[in-house]
């Protein structure tokens, strides 16, 4: 018997029931050093997790990460949590050096977004450890739409952490009429000079491609050029106040921007201080992006997998996603949350219905890797 699990903990876990640890998982955890699927199957004492900001529930009074504390109580693993991912390209720029030289980056879990090329690149280059699927029976709770993404068709290396949607944010008071289409954003003279778009091409061009009637899930040279030209034309006409990263929130809040391409999570927060700000999915459709966890080479795959299994329990997920207000990839988390916090559970932005989800699209991962597309887009950004 693995000395990591005391008898009490075993009993407690059995009592929780409902798929938290199925028999195979239990046996595997007891396996210790003798066999399993070859690699180490002991829980490490610490796990190092690098994530984006605001992606973990925190108790301000005690400064503790609630979900991580609960995990520690149950499994005895101390999670060293750092919020040092603030941009996919920048984080990738930092880790590609060591990873390309077969060095560990001293992390067990990292999080990258699926609407930029870097997530796929890490997987393609073989810089990610395989998930220990035997330790993640809760993977069954993964929502169907996330089961076979283009960059990781069999979910061998990655699992979604949370999702968000890209649409149009606008100021209901200052705009004469609701801004509900990219056509308005790009071509309505009334908004000239007070509009911004995002500097990530999956977000911005994705929306324009939808507006053009094309499919952002299968981008061709034609559909790309059509969208790019449309954006360039708007730029030349002086329609944009800027092409921004996250920094659109300030000008939007102050009224310098009347409308812009923005993320649902941000606007929901801005709305709390300024009720005039609202977010909509454009009539032609919006985009959805997902932040995925990966185990970088050298990370402890088993411990990380056990952690992800813990997260994918609907009860745990309900508490986590109910707190951080991003879209949960775990089936049943909405139902679990309704019992504790019905208001949040019924909020379309955090727990979108099937109808809403049908209006948002994933970007074509192949397009993200296309160097020519990236260069053309960077040229629009003036570089």
């Amino acid at each position: 018997m693995n000395d990591m699990l005391t008898r009490d903990e075993l009993l407690r876990r059995a009592a929780l029931g409902a798929g938290l640890l199925s028999m195979p998982g239990l046996l595997a955890a007891c396996g210790g050093g003798n066999g399993g699927s070859g690699g180490k199957r002991e829980l490490a004492k610490t796990m190092r997790f690098s994530n984006w900001t605001y992606y973990m529930d925190v108790d301000e009074k005690t400064k503790k990460w609630l979900t991580l504390e609960a995990f520690k109580k149950e499994f005895g693993v101390d999670v060293k949590y750092t919020e040092d991912v603030d941009s996919n390209s920048q984080f990738f720029g930092k880790i590609q050096g060591p990873l390309s030289r077969d060095q560990s980056i001293d992390r067990d879990l990292i999080v990258l977004t699926d609407n930029e090329r870097f997530l796929a690149t890490v997987i393609d280059k073989g810089w990610a450890e395989k998930l220990d699927k035997d330790a993640i029976p809760n993977i069954e709770n993964l929502v169907d739409v996330q089961r076979h993404p283009g960059f990781d068709p069999d979910r061998e290396y990655s699992l979604p952490w949370c999702s968000g949607m890209t649409g149009i944010a606008y100021n209901t008071k200052l705009t004469k009429q609701p801004v509900t289409s990219m056509e308005q954003l790009l071509e309505d003279k009334a908004l000239k000079g007070k509009v911004a778009i995002l500097n990530s091409f999956a977000d911005t061009l994705g929306l324009v491609i939808l507006e053009n009637g094309d499919d952002p899930g299968k981008i061709t040279d034609d559909s790309f050029s059509r969208a790019l030209d449309r954006v360039q034309a708007a730029q030349d006409a002086g329609q944009f106040r800027g092409i921004t990263g996250n920094s659109y929130t300030g000008p939007l809040a102050s009224g310098d921007l009347l409308a812009c391409v923005g993320w649902s999570g941000d606007i929901e927060q801005l709305h709390l201080d300024n009720p005039d700000l609202t977010w909509v999915i454009p009539k032609a459709g919006g985009m959805i992006w997902t932040d995925n966890v990966l185990i970088p080479k050298g990370g402890d795959a088993y411990t990380a997998s056990v952690f992800m299994n813990y997260i994918y329990d609907p009860e745990v997920a309900a508490k986590l996603y109910g707190h951080i207000h991003y879209i949960s990839p775990v089936k049943g988390s909405r139902e679990a949350l309704i019992k504790i916090d019905p208001e949040t559970a019924n909020n379309e932005l955090f727990f979108p219905t099937e109808k809403t989800l049908s209006q948002v699209h994933l970007v074509d991962p192949a397009a993200l890797k296309n160097q020519s597309y990236n260069e053309q887009w960077q040229a629009v950004l003036g570089v």
């Binding site: 605001y54 750092t82 030289r101 102050s254 927060q269």
Partner: protein, 266 residues
């Protein structure tokens, strides 16, 4: 006429300081804001909550502590190394002067992102000596601060009147004593200025630090991660605290000096 001119300069100086400190004023003001969401853009109402709970954001205090430690160490070491170089450059003829000057200017001219990434490449090739973290951040900071100290101290040394030193030596002082008792006090303001510049550079650096920090988080790294999606008012509180503490220390310094001087006079 003289009266007007005297005041013109003072008024100008006050305006210049106001210009420098207006953004700080805003930062201080918003540390008392009470936003409903996680963005701190719109004034919602006055509250002392974030001051009472100044330590409520996990990692913020540790990040600031780390930044201060590194800034102090880096500025002291960079100032020492840079001052030595400045002395050599101004006072001695030697082979390789031009090359040395070039070597001083180059780090300032190198874009931070490629410098940070290339330095990382060096470190990861020798990870046993340079484990990524405190050590590598400190090394990087000293590296990019040296040039600024050299140029600043040189500005003082170039026009320095050697006759005082010569007089001291004529009176029997050897080189080391002359340096300690005559030269050093006279160039002290330049050394202090160099140290202040280094401190400012170090405590504010983002790009080079980001690449070479491993999993350590300094204050700028912490803030950049947060501010882009909504920094909590505690960040403002922290910035205000440091500013106030620094000013208080300086005021204390002045008051102590005044006491010492009045004691000497008495």
């Amino acid at each position: 006429m003289r009266f007007v001119r005297r005041h013109l300069l003072t008024v100008y100086a006050i305006l210049a300081f106001a210009y420098l400190l207006i953004p700080i004023g805003l930062v201080v003001l918003f540390s008392f804001n009470n936003p409903a969401g996680r963005f701190n853009y719109t004034w919602q109402g006055f509250t002392l909550d974030h001051w009472r709970n100044w330590d409520g954001v996990p990692g913020l205090r540790e990040a600031m502590t780390l930044s201060l430690e590194i800034a102090f160490l880096a500025s002291i070491l960079a100032t020492v190394l840079g001052t030595l170089i400045a002395l050599a450059l101004v006072r001695y003829g030697f082979r390789g002067r031009g090359a040395t000057n070039l070597l001083i200017f180059l780090p300032m001219a190198t874009p931070e992102i490629v410098l940070g990434a290339s330095l990382l490449t060096l470190f990861i090739n020798v990870t046993t000596v340079f484990p990524l973290g405190f050590r590598t951040i400190l090394i990087a900071h000293i590296m990019f601060c040296i040039s600024y100290v050299v140029v600043t101290v040189k500005a003082r040394l170039v026009g320095f009147d050697r006759s005082l030193e010569e007089a001291a030596m004529d009176l029997g002082a050897n080189e080391w004593v002359t340096f300690r008792k005559v030269t050093l006090p006279l160039i002290a303001p330049a050394i202090l200025a160099g140290a202040l510049l280094s401190f400012a550079l170090s405590i504010d650096d983002f790009v080079i630090t980001y690449f070479n920090s491993g999993s350590e988080i300094t204050f700028p790294l912490f803030v950049w991660g947060q501010a882009r999606v909504g920094a909590p008012p505690q960040v403002n509180v922290m910035g205000t605290l440091i500013f106030v503490v620094a000013l208080s220390l300086m005021v204390l310094n002045v008051l102590l000096q005044r006491r010492r001087e009045s004691q000497v006079r008495a």
